[in-house]
Amino acid sequence: MMTEDFDRILDECIDRISRGDNVADCLSDYPAYSEKLGPLLQSMLDVQKTYTFAPSADTKRAARQKFYATLGKQGRMTPVLSLFRVIPRSAVWATTAVLVLAIVGALVIEPVLNPPTLVPSPEGNFAFLISDEPNDIGDFESLNVTISRVGLQAAGSLKRLEFTPETRTVDLTQLHGEESQEIWRGNVLAGQYSQVYIYVSEVTGKLESTGQIVDVKLPSSKLHISMPFEVTTDSVTSFTFDITVVATGNNGKYILKPQIGESGARQEQKPLE
C-alpha cells in the first residue's frame, strides 16, 4: 500500500515537473516522502537534460510542408482526380494535375500553414468575448491575461481562421460570472465551426492577500475549447470564451484553464442598415 502511494506520488511529481513545476515544490507537498523522492526526481531531470534537444526549425518546417501536402493530396485531390481517370492523354493529365496541385496548394494547404487573419469591423457578424467562471479568482487583486491571437477551426475541414484581438489584455478579476468583455468584432466567414483557440502570451497575477505577483501557468501556450457553433451572415454571433483560474493545491500555484460549461455562442439578429 505504501509502495503504491509512493508510486502515485512519484508519478504525479513527474507530471508536474514535465508541465514546468519544480522539484522543490513537489517535495514540499510531500515532506514524508521527500528523502526518497528527491534523488529519483533528480535522476529524472538528469536523463531528460541529457537527451533533450530542439529539432531544427528548418527540418520541422520542411516536414510540416510535406505533411500538409500529403494531407491535401489525400483528403482533397483523390475525388477530383478520379473524374479525369478516363482521359488517356498523358499531357492533358499532367497539365490537369499541375493545375489541381496549384489550386489545392492555394486553397487548402496555404490557409492551413498560414491561416488568414481577419480584419476587425464594428458592423461585423462575429463578436468574441472573454469571461471568468469564479473558482479561485477571489485570491487575486488583478489577473491580467494577454491574448496574442484567437483561432477558429471550421468543422469537418482543416480551414482555420485567426484574428488579433483589438483589446489584447483582460483583467479576469473584472469579469466574474455574468460579466464579460468583448475583445474583437469583425466579419467571419459564414459556416459551421468546431473549435476555438486562444493563444496566451502573458499572464500576470497579483494576490489579494499579500500583493505578491504569482506565477499562473497554462497547460500549454494556448487554451482550447471544442464546441460546435454556427456563424451566419444575417445575424451577429457572440462567442464567449470562459477562462477560469484554479489553485493546484496548497502550494500557492495556480493554473488557467478553459471552462467549457460556461463558454458558448449566441446569435442576435443583425440591426437593419
Binding site: T3, E4, F6, D7, R8, L10, D11, I14, D15, S18, P39, L40, S43, M44, D46, V47, Q48, T50, Y51, T52, F53, A54, P55, S56, T59, K60, A62, A63, R64, K66, F67, Y68, T70, L71, Q74, G75, V112, Q153, G156, S157, L158, S194, S220
Partner: protein, 178 residues
C-alpha cells in the same frame, strides 16, 4: 458514452484535423523519443516527419480503442525506430564518437557533456525493454501513465511501478558512477 453509436465515431476529416492539431504539439516529442533510441538527431527528426506521414496514410484503419491518437503516434514511432535500427544493424547503440551535443564551443564543456551523455546512455542500456519504453514515453513523449499503459497493454498502476523501478535502477547506476 455509447460506443456503439455510429454518430460518436469521428469522420476521417475529423481524424485528419485532430492529427494536424497534434503535429505542432507532438513533432518535437516524437523526435526526442526516437533520439533516445537511435542517438542521432538528424535521423530522429526525419523519422518524426515519417511518423506523421505514416499516421496520415493509415488514418482509415485508425480506431480509438483505449489508446488516444498521440499514443498511436508513438506506436508508429516505435515501429519505424525498430525498422531503422534493424536496417542499421544495431540495437539501442549510440555512436558516442559522432554525438554533437548542444552547447558552446568550449572543448572542456563539450567533453563533459559527452561524458555525461555516455554515462546516462550506459545506465539506460541496463533497463529492460519495457522499462526503457516507459521512461521514454513518460519523460520525452509526455504521455500519462494511463496512456503509456494503453500502448503497452498494462494497467496504469503497473506502469507506475515499472517507472519507479526503472528510475531507482537508473539512480543506482548513475549515482554509483558519478
Amino acid at each position: 458514452m455509447n460506443i456503439g453509436n455510429r454518430k460518436d465515431i469521428p469522420t476521417i476529416n475529423e481524424y485528419e484535423s485532430r492529427l494536424a492539431d497534434l503535429y505542432e504539439e507532438y513533432y518535437n516529442k516524437v523526435a526526442r523519443y526516437v533520439y533516445v533510441h537511435i542517438g542521432n538527431k538528424e535521423e530522429a527528426e526525419d523519422i518524426a516527419g515519417e511518423v506523421f506521414l505514416k499516421a496520415l496514410k493509415s488514418l482509415k484503419s485508425y480506431r480509438e480503442q483505449g489508446v488516444p491518437m498521440q499514443g498511436w503516434l508513438f506506436r508508429i514511432a516505435h515501429n519505424l525506430t525498430v525498422d531503422y535500427l534493424r536496417k542499421m544493424d544495431k540495437r539501442r547503440t549510440v555512436p558516442i564518437d559522432s554525438v554533437v551535443l548542444p552547447g558552446n564551443d568550449n572543448p572542456v564543456d563539450t567533453a563533459e557533456k559527452n561524458i555525461e551523455f555516455e554515462r546516462v546512455t550506459e545506465a539506460m542500456k541496463q533497463l529492460t525493454t519495457e522499462q526503457t519504453e516507459v521512461i521514454n514515453l513518460r519523460f520525452f513523449g509526455g504521455l500519462t501513465s494511463k496512456e503509456v499503459g494503453g500502448i503497452l497493454g498494462k494497467s496504469d498502476g503497473a506502469v507506475r511501478e515499472m517507472q519507479r523501478a526503472a528510475i531507482e535502477k537508473l539512480r543506482g547506476i548513475m549515482g554509483v558512477e558519478k
